[in-house]
Amino acid sequence: MEIIRQQVEQNPVVLYMKGSPQFPQCGFSARAVEVMSDIGKPFAYVNVLDAPEIRTNLPKYGNWPTFPQLWVKGELVGGSDILLEMQQNGELAELLADIPEAQ
């Protein structure tokens, strides 16, 4: 749990997903990456398939049962359904407005 707390507090934007942004291993994780790429802001990611402890503990930490999960500034934003919805209604861009653009 301590590792998770550090990850979500030290990274302004972090996506917990199955696979990597280059090779997502699940359709929902792939969708989350697509949304984040469109938004164009940099994000850290954790491949939970390589991190069994995080895969087990994060659902309890965030009260959220599945992956992907996007965390922004230490708070859970949601999974791929929520990201898509917030991309379409503009709330995601708003939430990430003060994050600098990717280099």
């Binding site: 199955k18 699940c26 359709g27 969708r31 599945t66 859970l76 934003v77 791929s80």
Partner: protein, 103 residues
Amino acid sequence: MSVAQTIEQSVRDNFDVEYLELLNESHQHAGPATESHFKLTVVAPDFEGLRLVQRHQKVYALTQELMQNGPLHALSLHLFTPEEWQKRGGTVADSPNCRGVGS
């Protein structure tokens, strides 16, 4: 009761449901399970004043047992207030296909 019946019943028992659609999308995913992936759309006034993440957490709380100890693997959620539902003309995004890896 089937997984679908269990999900529908507990949502109806806990929310003032105005519209509910539950689709079994297990065929879009790899593996032998036939009651693993569902997409649930619910329109209910209960969601008013709640952020998306909070709405989803309320529904996931109802399906916790099915996810932890049952066959339910992914539950795509589209949760709206009656007003939001009317504004969007009663449509939701399609779910992605699975990539067949990472259970």
